[in-house]
């Protein structure tokens, strides 16, 4: 893996090498040119030698499967048979003409609303906790910790919470609310319940992001505002919000692509039953239950296209994001 070329390259590449010796003979010029071009070649190769392993793995584990996915999407492969029949764009035609395949995107709306709630809650607590609060770090830790928990464990915790006479029902009964609804059994509630689980799990992440952004606002801004007699609402509206606007907007756009691709929580908790099927679960079902890997691959690629579109919009509107990926 290119280590040899690494060892031979002792040439600083930052500045061009100043020519040594003077008035070279034509023959030497030729050989010099050759030496430079050799050096240039080494210089050209070096970064690729460093990249060989990471890029190799990236291609092997991401781009080769992606290429295969595109290939599958042009066939009627069932995922079992060694042979696959070329069907051209038939799967995409189906994607373009069958609105039933997109009905599940409606479910994503619940997660999107959940994400808005999540961002609001996170922003509220990030604001509170960036100022003087008793046991600040304890609260910070408690609010954040759910984000770190294993997804399967969260699935069990919330199945236990939502089941009949479970945590939630008992708590409501404690406050005198009898006759609770079926949190997962009622098709009108199930997606709200699952989106709620998602909010519980991911608020901590947004919260810590916002907290970081708020803390990077220069302190003298607050002092100046204090002198101007601003109250805490003004402080939030005129200093904090502009300071975190970017991160909030970014979180919101990430939430859109996240909501489009929701998979783990509904899959572990309900398997997509009772109207909780998302686009990703539908694709997995198409591949495994209906044995239409070709169509499922096309669905995966359409979903990817949607996610990329959202990301493109993000890059367009926030071109100078903190990590420049230019």
């Amino acid at each position: 893996m290119g280590e040899i070329s690494l060892r031979t390259d002792n040439t600083p590449t930052v500045k061009p090498v100043p020519p040594r010796g003077r008035a070279p003979w034509p023959r030497r010029v030729v050989s010099r040119c050759r030496a430079i071009s050799r050096r240039r070649l080494v210089r050209m190769i070096t970064p690729w030698a460093f990249l060989a392993l990471p890029l190799g793995l990236l291609i092997l584990l991401t781009y080769l499967p992606a290429y295969n996915l595109i290939r599958y999407s042009l066939t009627d492969w069932d995922g079992i048979d060694p042979t696959m029949n070329w069907v051209g764009l038939a799967n995409y035609q189906r994607m373009a003409t069958d609105p039933a395949l997109y009905r599940v995107l409606f479910v994503s709306l619940f997660y999107l609303v959940g994400a808005v709630v999540q961002i609001a809650i996170a922003l509220y607590f990030a604001t509170i906790l960036s100022f003087k609060v008793f046991a600040k770090n304890v609260f910070k830790g408690i609010l954040f910790f759910p984000y770190l928990i294993n997804g399967v464990a969260i699935g069990y915790v919330f199945l236990y919470l939502f089941r009949k006479d479970g945590t939630l029902d008992t708590t409501l009964a404690f406050f005198g609310l009898q006759d609770p609804p079926q949190w997962l059994g009622d098709p009108k509630l199930i997606n709200a319940s699952l989106a709620g689980t998602s909010v519980w799990r991911f608020t901590g992440m947004n919260f810590v992001l916002f907290l970081g952004a708020i803390q990077s606002i220069p302190g003298d801004l607050y002092e100046a505002a204090e002198l101007d007699g601003a109250n805490s609402w003004h402080r939030f509206w005129h200093i904090i919000l502009p300071g975190v606007r970017r991160v909030v907007a970014l979180s919101f756009i990430l939430a859109i692509s996240g909501a489009l691709a929701v998979f783990e929580i509904p899959y572990v908790m309900t398997g997509g039953a009772n109207g909780s099927k998302t686009f990703a679960i539908q694709a997995v079902e198409m591949a495994f239950t209906h044995r239409k890997v070709g169509l499922a691959s096309a669905m995966a690629l359409v979903l990817l296209a949607m996610v990329l579109l959202v990301t493109w919009v993000q890059r367009r509107f926030f071109p100078d994001e903190r990590v420049e990926l230019t």
Binding site: I80, R163, M286, T289
Partner: protein
């Protein structure tokens, strides 16, 4: 073995009668012949070396039962050094992915999703139908032409497990065998007791998928699945698929099932039936022994667990399909086929697995299990579903795939339950299925 002989003999006679009537089981009446020792017909060299077995029975792997069989097998064939089990939770999702890779052990349970026209690509035939039918039954499901690619792990009868005490408490004195009587009994359970009349096992899902085994049972139509491939409207009133899915649909629509289907649990359902908190579950005869064990464990009586035929379309007659449960197959790429075959024969003939599970033995010579005595008491007619005609082995699956129904899948019946809970008219739901099926036929036919 606590087989009740008279009942069993009577049942055996009945089965062979019915099977003979179906016509395609030929002359091999094995019920008197004793089978030769299993090792006798093993190929030269004999079973030896290591064997890898893929199984859907995670429970039996976990509790060491399978290892017990392996120890017995290795005691019989000392040359065999190791039998390794790989039990897989999401069996029917994961194993099909592995088929095209060739890496699926030496012996496996055939996963759902493999169509019959694919069998020859992956599996080694056990022999021809003519050779095997003298000894084994349930050969049709995974045969192509004359070659047999799958041997049944055991046979089962379709039916309903129920709690006799709950029925008695509800005032149901006569075992309901017809559709109307059965729904009336469920209603009586709802009105007169606190028990859930019918438990769907919606969350775990696979019991819903297994309901497809009841296809044709309501009218005793052994050709139901074959007929369906020639019918654009199998869910039309009085059709076989109509009867198959009506029971579930009507029970849910009338509120005769559990309140919250999304929190059901298979293990729990056994205890619930045993303790009388649930009245009925539509499952096959293999479930009887598990239900009885759960009843005993929960401090109730195993005698409370009873078995009924699937409700029939008309009063006065009732039917049960007897068919293979899961099937064993051998990997065509296995390097140890002699041992693989010996393992399958051992499991069917000597392990005692079928007796433990209450299966109808795959061996024709074995008596029927005692758990089917209730059916003979009720005069239920047993039949074996007819295999697809030669050349059309994959047709049903092809139409089903093209239609995107998933006839034997859980999501399909979960969606039916979802509709019934929201009281979508049955006619509407079923005509949508007809439309899908017709489109599937047009695409795949």
């Amino acid at each position: 073995m606590k087989t009740k002989w008279p009942a069993a003999v009577a049942m055996g006679a009945l089965v062979s009668l019915v099977l003979a009537a179906c016509g395609d089981n030929g002359d091999g009446d094995g019920s008197g012949t004793s089978s030769p020792p299993a090792g006798a017909d093993a190929p030269a060299g004999g079973p030896a070396g290591e064997l890898k077995v893929l199984t859907h029975r995670t429970d039996l792997d976990q509790d060491g039962t399978l290892q017990g069989y392996a120890d017995k097998f290795m005691a019989k064939y000392p040359e065999v050094t190791k039998v390794e089990f790989e039990s897989i939770t999401a069996y029917d999702d994961d194993v099909p992915l592995r088929l095209s890779t060739g890496d699926f052990g030496d012996v496996l349970s055939i996963p759902n999703g493999v169509t019959n026209d694919q069998l020859a690509q992956f599996f080694e035939p056990f022999g021809t139908k003519a050779e095997l039918s003298a000894k084994y039954q349930f050969l049709d499901s995974f045969s192509v032409g004359d070659q047999v690619y799958g041997l049944a792990q055991g046979g089962i009868a379709t039916g309903v497990v129920y709690n006799k005490k709950v029925f008695a408490d509800a005032g149901v004195t006569q075992p309901p065998t017809s559709y109307d009587d059965f729904l009336a009994a469920l209603q009586a359970v709802k009105d007169n007791t606190d028990a859930v009349p019918l438990y769907t096992n919606y969350k775990d899902g696979w019991p819903l998928g297994d309901l497809q085994r009841n296809m044709g049972v309501a009218k005793g139509n052994a050709d139901a699945k074959n007929d369906m491939t020639a019918n654009d409207a199998p869910w039309a009133e009085d059709g076989d698929a109509y009867w198959l899915d009506s029971l579930l649909y009507d029970a849910v629509d009338k509120g005769l099932t559990e309140d919250d289907p999304t929190t059901t649990n298979w293990e729990e359902s056994k205890t619930l039936l045993g303790t009388g908190k649930v009245a009925t579950l539509v499952l096959q005869s293999w479930a009887i022994s598990q239900m009885q064990a759960a009843a005993t464990d929960a401090g109730a009586s195993a005698d409370d667990i009873g078995f009924l035929p699937v409700p029939s379309a008309t009063a006065g007659a009732s039917f049960a399909a007897v068919l293979g449960d899961r099937y064993y197959a051998m990997n065509a790429k296995s390097e140890n086929k002699a041992t693989a075959k010996a393992w399958v024969e051992f499991m069917i003939e000597e392990s005692g697995y079928d007796a433990k599970e209450g299966f109808v033995s795959t061996l024709k010579s074995a008596p029927l299990p005692s758990n089917l005595s209730a059916l003979s008491y009720l005069g239920t007619e047993l039949f074996e579903p007819t295999a697809a005609p030669a050349g059309a082995e994959g047709l049903f699956d092809a139409i089903d795939t093209a239609a995107e129904i998933g006839f034997s899948s859980a999501p399909y019946r979960q969606a039916l339950i979802d509709q019934a809970r929201q009281h979508v008219a049955k006619a509407e739901a079923f005509s949508a299925l007809n439309a899908k099926w017709a489109a599937g036929r047009a695409a795949a036919g």
